[in-house]
Symmetry: C2
Subunit: 334 residues, 2 copies
């Protein structure tokens, strides 16, 4: 094994806002010998997620990454050497293997073994991974939408948002998608089955919501937190549930940006606004993966992947996400 | 009956911010003959509540009061004439009788018949009325505090806040009260059993919370919504519940004032922020009245009343509430 050469992306500085290429460095290294109890993984797919900005920020994050660490990431790979009975050579696994070609890890870093052979393995980083399971868990546990209710999604074409829209639609909800380009609008309607779409860059959001949601919004799944949300919040129905899943439109929280206070809306609409982090819901992860696998097999869950080739595309990938360049789950194939 | 003279307070204009005396007018009128199914009530106690500002505001309120109406208010009075079997002359009742001496009402305007004879009737407008039941219902249903948790209350000495603090204490929580004068601080400690108090006008709230709540705040019962809340929100524990019960420190919501965005706090702390209006919880009203009656009888629920004499003191009373002049439930005795 010691002749294998690893390439990895190391964090070399903390970003002040959105992580940029200069916060990372590509390094070459010999793959170390395995310690007892470790597995050696050959990565095939690396994930790029909006949450990475939070992991890299200094302040109180639930999954901090420090300067000097290999960049934290979910990956799909194959076990090529095992010193434990838990996994065998040849097992396909998804887990915390980092932005690198080879990872020597403990079994606890594996999130799940991939047993389905009828679905592409890369899906376990997107629609069947963090994105899909975030969408399914948060929508079900925090949003609890009922058939006939109106569900609005603020990053409607994104990795999480596109799942939310289709999950809500499968439950019999009316779905309203907010997104930022004509191409994304079209994808939302044609592939992700939204009932209505709004271009937040060119439409009058307030007027559009007045027309499309005359009875208000029952569930608002929010990944943005800025001006888009300010407009949507004005249209909450009585008893609405707002899922705070991301804050993509806020470039920096230090100092905290100001915006319209939400207290009076929450009070008069008896609405609930709640933060969601998937790591709190590990116990139900397999349940929601299964729900999503079944929806994909039934043709009720479409997805898009946006793939770049090679580890060298990783350092710029988080910034591209925040610029909204991608259409679907952002992945890196090795 | 037609010889009885009524005095009433009519709403003559909409306030732009906090209701002021010029928005009201005292009128004299002959008490009308009862229609079939009505009751005639002689009011003894009138309530003054912060919620009245919302009722009088133009925008989308859940209980709007229009120009020309007798000012909406909960009152305690005695049935002096009944044309229905539901109530008898002499019954003590609490309900929506308005700021006036006599009210001809339908039985549906009665919130409850007062049957306890060992407790003062005025309590059914305060600690056993809207305030106490708001505190008990919201704390239980939205806050769900567990023994050992830390509960912070932003209007700690007020009608609702003083009940919240004592209810939380009775459940075995640590209670932190925020209030605005040395006299109120003393009352909070001596009468309302808070474990710690903070003077939001003179103390450094952030530093005080850092010292007094090193593990964060599990339940924040908020009646203020402004700078006090901005400071408290920074100290939420993981899984915190924020009860949005009032917005007393915001003089006007038109246009909506700006403040620090809360999304990132809610996200990283997986916290929940939820609006509460008692009218949604009519079915459980008697349950919480009984809980509070029992706590009073057990000596675990102290209260203060702040009483002025005569209907002419009503028009200025809402403004006095918002200036924080009162110490305890604001009442008018007729």
């Amino acid at each position: 094994m010691s002749s294998l050469e690893n390439e990895l992306i190391r964090v070399v500085s903390k970003p002040t806002g959105i992580p940029a290429p200069e916060n990372f460095q590509l390094e070459k290294q010999v793959v170390p010998e395995l310690e007892a109890g470790q597995l050696l993984i050959r990565n095939e797919w690396l994930s790029v997620d909006p949450a990475m900005r939070g992991w890299l920020a200094d302040a109180n994050n639930y999954a901090s990454v420090r300067v000097g660490d290999v960049m934290r990431s979910l990956c799909v790979g194959t076990v090529i050497k095992s010193t434990t009975d838990a996994f065998m050579e040849g097992d396909r696994v998804m887990g915390w293997f980092g932005w690198q070609h080879y990872a020597a890890i403990k079994p606890a870093a594996v999130v799940q073994k991939i047993t389905a052979t009828d679905l592409p393995a890369s899906l376990y980083l997107g629609v069947l991974g963090l994105n899909g399971v975030t969408a399914a868990t948060a929508l079900d546990k925090l949003g609890a939408p009922k058939a006939g209710e109106t569900v609005a999604v603020s990053t409607a074409a994104g990795g999480v948002g596109s799942c939310v829209g289709q999950l809500a639609k499968a439950l019999g909800c009316r779905t309203i998608g907010l997104t930022g380009s004509p191409e994304k609008l079209r994808t939302c309607l044609e592939e992700f089955n939204y009932d209505h779409v709004i271009n937040y860059k060119t439409d009058d959001i307030d007027a559009a919501l007045k027309t499309q949601c005359p009875d208000g919004i029952d569930v608002y799944f929010d990944n943005t937190a800025g001006a888009i949300s300010d407009a949507v919040m004005q249209h909450l129905a009585i008893g609405a549930r707002v899922i705070v899943c991301g804050t993509a439109s806020i470039p920096s929280w230090d100092p905290p940006p100001v915006g319209p206070r939400v207290n009076r809306i929450l009070l008069t609409r008896r609405a609930r606004m709640q933060g969601f982090i998937l790591f709190d819901h590990k116990d139900t992860y397999p349940t929601y993966v299964k729900q999503l696998e079944d929806l994909i097999r039934a043709g009720k869950m479409n997805y898009r992947e946006d793939v770049t080739e090679g580890l060298h595309t990783a350092p710029g990938a988080i910034g591209e996400l925040y610029r909204g360049d991608n259409l679907g789950k952002r992945l890196i194939r090795l």
